[in-house]
Every structure is written in C-alpha cells, then in structure tokens.
C-alpha cells in the first residue's frame, strides 16, 4: 500500500540538497540530520527503561544459564563465600594431564600431584565441592575426595601406594578420565548427560545404562503431550470462540466472563480444584458411584497420572486459545458465508472454504501460545501428574532444587529452549509468522 501513496519525506530526500539552507543559514541536510538524531535519541530514551528491564531480567539471566550449562568450575576454582578469596584447585594434576596424553596410566608423579592437590582441598575446605563435580559423572567418588582430603596431611611417598591404600578405587581409569575432563571448567559433558549419553574410559560417547535413561524419553513425552493438549484446546476452543463471536454483544459479553474468570483465577487454585474433582474419592467419582454407573471398587483413576496432567493443563490453557480465536472471528463479516451459501455452497463447504481460512491466523497464534506454555509447564504436572505425567520441566526443577546439579539443569533448559526456537523457525517457514494474530 505504501508503495502507491505519495511520500513527502522521500521527496525531500531526493530533492537536490546543494545550496539549500534553513532560515538561520545552516545547510538543510545538516539540520535535518540533527532533528532526526534528536528524534531517535528521544525514542531511545523512551524505550530505555524497557530495554534495561529486559536486559537485566531476561537476557543476562538466560545468558548466565546458558553459560553454566557448559561451564562448571567445581574442580578448578574455589571461592570462599565469606571473604571472596579465590583459590585455583587441582593445579598440579592439571599440569600432569597436560604433560601426559589421554590414556596414560597414572604413575607415581600423577599420584604425587594428586596428593599435593588434596592438601590444597583440605586447606580451603573444597573437597566436597571438587568431589561433587566428579560425582556428577562417576557416582560414589564424592566420599573418596572428602576422605582422602581429611587424611591428606598424613600421606607420604610413595604416593601411589599411600593413596591406593586409602581406597583402591583411586586407581580406576574411569576416575582419571573424568578428572582429566573436569580440570577444564568448560565441558560439553552436561549436554551429553542431558541426552542420556556419557563418555566411556576412552572418551567415546556412549549411551548410559538403560535403567538410567530418562531425559530423551521425557523430552519426547513433553513434546507429545504438549501437541495433544494444543490439539484438545483447539477442538474445545473453536466452537466456544465461534459462539462468542456470533452471539449478540450483551450475551457474548456474559459468556466471555465465563472464559475470563478462570483465566484470572490463580493457577494453583485451578489445579487444586481439579484435584478435588478428579481424585478417586473425589466429586466425579462419588457422583458416578452414587448414580450406580460405577462400582465402589472400580473408581476411576483420573489423577496422579498422565490423564490428570492432560485434563488440568487443557483446562488451564484453554483461554489462551479462545481469546486469539475470538479476536479473529469477531470481525469476520457474516455476509461472506451468506454469499457463499446463496451461490450454492453447502454449509460445510462454506465453512471450509470461506470461514475457516479467515480464522487461520487466530489458530496459529493460539496454538503457538498454548504449545509454548505447555512445553514449559511445571506446577500442574508436579501436583496432578503422579509418576508418568511428569514433564521435562519437573526434572529441571529437580536438578535445580534437590540434586543441586545446576549445570545439568541448565543444559536441559537450553535444549528445551533450542527445541522451541527450532519449532518457531519451522512454524515461520510453514505458516509464516506474519500470519499470527494475537488480538
């Protein structure tokens, strides 16, 4: 549209600037540039608070999170929390690793380096920290570090014998492989762990033991459940939105309240209400039993499983589908469908060829909103999901809060973020992001 209209700005810019001056004698070009730069600065200052806010609360924390997923200095640096003094750890061992290629059997020099480093660990009380870092990749090694550090002062040459005497697991080649990796704070091992992979003794990437594989499965489940919930939301929301859009304003406003009221209610309240309804001694089961449709012994298990997660999340995310659909359906002129009908189309054809295509931007917006929210959902599956209704975000929370393996949590979160960006890109290629109408 803009191409066709007359644009005065362009005209000025194209006019020969030579010799043109303003009333006070300055070249016109200069004055214009000045005025424009003023306007730009004013605009910048207007958005500056928002920009600073987004930088501080969004870009910086996410950047830190991404950094943490590839950086863990548990084995390389100790920082005393009170005084802030930083002490590098395992420096002797690092030198030994540098001088000897991977796969070298640890000799006396290696154990001497280890003994010297253990002494440092003891002095700055960092044995637990260093052991925890190794324990992430080799379970059971944590106490080896704390115990050995406790006795570090008593160690005497030959160190190899003395340390193996403490615990023969110190000779485990796997332990030395893990320690070699950990002497560099930058590592991709947390991403491997987040994809159920690990490195074997020789540093080859292999799958972890089958009974410890969980992340790939949960990523897939999260994706599948989110798609299902998005689809269910679409099925439920489309007729509601259509009804809202076609009813007279007074009635539709009343109905709109029914959509918005739950939307405004706290997420926790809605989740716990579903718990009251769905539990095996809950309202739904009680009603079915008292109506005689269900024996008291065969009460339905609708909660603490996947079904509970699906029901509660579909309900909670429904308004995010209804509102964008409503906003595209409201302005659709009913005479289009009437015209199609008068030209001989069946009501199905009129819907399919005339009405539905006009609502696609709303479907796209609603589906994207619901899907992205569902992928990151955490509280609802935690409360009603039981064991098999858990999503990947529940495991991220587990590693943030309980196992305290923040690097793994960050790697999982980064994979989730990457996955969503990929889907967004696909969506843009297939549907086109310009076709999105949020309201």
């Amino acid at each position: 549209m803009t191409d066709a209209t007359f644009s005065p700005d362009e005209d000025v810019a194209k006019a020969p600037a030579k010799g043109l001056t303003t009333a006070d004698g300055r070249p016109l070009k200069q004055a214009l540039a000045r005025a424009q730069s003023h306007a730009r600065w004013r605009a910048f200052f207007l958005v500056a608070p928002l920009l600073a806010f987004i930088l501080l609360t969004f870009v910086v924390p996410i950047g830190q999170m991404l950094h943490r997923s590839v950086y863990n200095d548990g084995f390389t640096l100790h920082e005393d929390i009170g005084s802030g003094t930083q002490t590098p750890l395992m420096t002797n061992l690092k030198t030994w690793f540098k001088d000897n290629p991977a796969g070298t059997d640890p000799d006396e020099a290696a154990f001497a380096a280890l003994a010297a480093d253990l002494l440092v660990l003891r002095e700055v009380k960092a044995a637990g920290q260093a052991g925890t870092r190794i324990n992430y990749e080799l379970s059971g090694s944590r106490s080896m570090f704390t115990k050995a550090a406790r006795r570090a002062k008593k160690l005497e040459p030959p160190y190899k014998e003395a340390i193996l005497d403490l615990d023969e697991d110190w000779g485990d080649p796997m332990l030395w492989r893990v320690m070699r990796d950990a002497t560099s704070a930058y590592t991709a091992n947390f991403y491997l762990a987040a994809m159920d992979r690990t490195k074997d003794v020789d540093g080859n990437v292999v799958s972890v033991n089958e009974n410890r594989q969980v992340y790939v499965k949960l990523f897939t489940r999260t994706l599948m459940l989110s798609l299902l919930i998005t689809f269910l939301c679409f099925l439920l929301a489309y007729p509601i939105a259509h009804l809202l859009a076609t009813l007279p304003l007074a009635k539709s406003n009343l109905l709109m309240i029914l959509v918005l009221l739950p939307f405004w209610t706290s997420l926790l309240v809605r989740t716990t209400s579903w718990m009251v309804l769905l539990q095996s001694q809950g309202v739904v089961n009680d009603a079915l039993v008292s109506m005689g449709l269900l024996g008291d012994e065969n009460r339905l298990q609708m909660m603490y499983n996947q079904l509970g997660t699906i029901i509660a999340m579909t309900h909670i995310l429904l308004p995010f589908m209804v509102l964008p659909l409503y906003s595209v359906m409201r302005p659709i002129n009913p005479s289009y469908v009437r015209a199609a009908r008068s030209l001989g189309a069946t009501s199905w054809t009129a819907f399919r060829r005339i009405y539905f295509p006009q609502t696609v931007p709303g479907i796209g917006a609603g589906a994207l909103l619901v899907f992205i929210l569902a992928v990151g959902y955490y509280i609802t599956p935690a409360l009603v999901g039981g064991a098999d209704g858990q999503l990947i975000s529940n495991l991220i929370a587990f590693h943030m809060q309980k196992s305290l393996n923040w690097s793994l949590a960050a790697a999982l979160a980064a994979l989730l973020l990457g996955g969503i960006l990929l889907l967004y890109w696909l969506y843009d290629r297939l549907v086109g992001i310009d076709n999105l109408k949020l309201g």
Binding site: D80, S139, N211, V214, Q390, Q401, S403
Partner: protein, 357 residues
C-alpha cells in the same frame, strides 16, 4: 548525580533489609512439626530475649539454601535439615560452622559434646530431634491390620493404594527390608548393582498402586481421605493426626528408618549471632524435652529423655510413641548419611528414570 546514586543504592538495598536486626528467620518443614518448634522454641526464645522469630516453611528447607547462598541473597538465618543434606551442604561450604562449645551443658554438668547422641553434633549442624520414616495405615480401610513392612508390598492380601515419598532415600531401604534383607545388611546390599536391582524389582511389584507424596503433611491427609490405605510417613505427623486430631491412623514400627533433623546456619545469614543464640537456646535439655510434648520426635540429648512427659492434651504418655522407644526398635534401620551423600545423585537419577517408565 550523587544523590541519584544514593537513592538508587538505597532502593536496591532496602529489599535486603526487610529483616531488622532483632529478628531471626527460621525455616522448617511446616504443619505439626513447625507448630511443635514454635511452641517449644520460638515462643520462649522471644519471651526471654525479645528477638522476634519469623517462621517460614518448605517441603525441604535444604533446597533453598544453595540458591540463596550462591546468589548472595540469604534470607534464612536458621534451617532445619536432614542429616545427609547437612553434611553435603557443609562439605560444599554453604553453611557456617557451629562451635559446639556455645551449646549449654546438661543440668548435671555433662558438657554438650557428651550429652548429645553420637553423630548429633556436626561441624556445621546441631541436631534437635530423632525422627523416623515409618509405615502407617488407616484402621478403617484395612480389613486386617498390617503388622510388618512386608504387608506394605503385599497387594493381594492388603488391597488398596500405597503412599510413598517421591525420593529414592528411605524408599529403596524399605523395599529391601520388605524383600527380606535384615536391617543391618541393607546398606551393604544397596551398595551393589544387584541390590539396587532387587530394590527396584520389589518396587515394581506395587508401582501401579503408588500415590507419591512430597510434603510431610500429605500422608496423614491421604490416609484420612481414604486416597491410600497405607503410606510411609514421618512418625510425628501420624502421631499428631491420630492423637491430636483423633484420626483412625496407626503406625507400624517394623522397618522404621531413623534419621536426625539438624539446625544449620546458611553462610552469610543476615542475623548470624542471633541465629546461633537461637540454636543454643533451643537445643538445651529442657527445650528439647518440651518439643517432645508437642510431637512424637525423640530429643537429640540424652539428658532430655527423662524430662519427656505427656502430650499437650495432658494425658498421653509420650515415651512409647518415640521412634527410639525400646519396643519400637525391633527391626529399625539408622539412615546412613555417608551412603546417601555419595549415592544420592546416581540413585535418584535411576529412581527418576524408573518413575518415568
């Protein structure tokens, strides 16, 4: 410009100064347990010192400590945590060390170091109670009363849902004990791959009948609602629901797993001195005995044992309800914190994988 910076700085820091000097924030486990601490520790402490106590709850108070300390924004002064968490957090340098010489001696003059039960005093922690994970059931929903940990895994004779804490700790031990491993051998068996397989195989046999809980207040509720017929639980919660509220709940002591709860001070706690004062006040002989009259957890001092009297209803003798009572120790396991500090990551990973399948 200077004024602006000063204003900004004060605006930023005022958030951190929400807690005034004469106030201690104590984080505990909520419900009946927090109530017992408020009655036995907080109220007398405030009455004596004038220092206000701000009590906050968490499903597990150990979890916010790392986040708070690493972010340099510690709001908790005292936290009540489990044994393995206290050792782990201390090892990671997230806790202040507590010198046990600040703790008062027993009334007969025995120094604190000798008066506390073995293991109750750690570098960074002072135990206040001995608690246990027990199996409990609702008398109205079980045709025959279960009397051993085996019955928890016997769906055929005792039909109905089971409640279990969503965590590998205690769950795996109980599975092994139910599978016939004597309490003394549990950790040796669990230290082997076959032992872990055996525990999970036992759990597999009831997997579809388990309702998982996370907060200590949940199991009494699940049992009372009839949502489960048996559940693992913290023994004090069941006692309070049964004796305090008259719920038809019973404890099976067979296969109980004993553990300490300990007071710790996160590194950089805003009111460290008052926090230590609170810990020293609360863990003296009389206070520990007082707490036992509000909930059935055993005091961590030997000298408190004789002072434990009746429940706050004035008639129920507390002694037989303690996890440490002679009659209840028949087949009891003491939680091995070193095992869990080491194996926590691996076993919970496997536990999560098992749950998700």
């Amino acid at each position: 410009m200077k004024i602006k910076t000063a204003l900004l700085a004060s605006a930023l820091t005022s958030v951190g100064f929400a807690a005034q000097a004469a106030e201690v924030t104590v984080m505990s486990w909520g419900g009946a347990y927090t109530k017992s601490q408020v009655e036995a520790y907080h109220k007398p402490f405030t009455a004596e010192t004038g220092i206000k106590i701000n009590s906050v709850d968490a499903d597990n108070p150990a979890t916010p400590i790392k986040a708070q300390v690493e972010a340099g924004n510690v709001s908790i002064d005292v936290a009540d945590v489990e044994f393995s968490d206290a050792v782990r957090l201390c090892d990671e340098g997230l806790l202040e060390e507590i010198d046990s010489s600040i703790l008062p001696a027993a009334p007969d003059g025995t120094p604190a170091a000798d008066d506390f039960i073995e293991g109750a005093l750690q570098d960074c922690a002072v135990a206040n109670i001995v608690w246990s994970t027990v199996m409990a059931y609702n008398t109205e929903n079980n045709a025959t009363a279960p009397d051993s940990i085996d019955d928890f895994f016997n769906i055929a004779d005792y039909p109905g849902k089971r409640g279990l804490r969503k965590s590998a700790k205690a769950t795996l031990e109980m599975a092994l004990m139910a599978d016939g491993v004597p309490a003394g051998d549990v950790y040796d068996v669990l230290d082997t791959d076959e032992g872990v397989d055996r525990a999970f195989a036992k759990l597999d046999s009831i997997k579809s009948d388990i309702v998982w809980w996370e907060a200590g207040a949940q199991p009494p509720q699940l049992l009372a609602d009839g949502e489960v017929v048996m559940s693992t639980a913290y023994n004090g919660r069941i006692f309070n629901a049964a004796v305090g509220e008259g719920q038809p709940l019973e404890i099976v002591w067979d296969g109980q797993i004993l553990d300490f709860d300990l007071f710790v001070v996160p590194k950089g706690a805003p009111n460290k001195d008052a926090a230590l004062q609170f810990i020293s006040f609360s863990t003296d002989t009389q206070r520990l005995a007082d707490q036992a009259s509000w909930i059935s957890y055993g005091p961590a001092r030997k000298s408190s044992g004789a002072l434990v009297g009746t429940y706050s209803d004035g008639k129920t003798e507390m002694a037989p309800h303690m996890p440490t009572a002679e009659a209840n120790l028949g087949n009891a396991l003491v939680n091995n914190f070193e095992f869990w500090v080491d194996k926590d990551a691996e076993l919970n990973e496997r536990f999560n994988a098992w749950l998700a399948n």
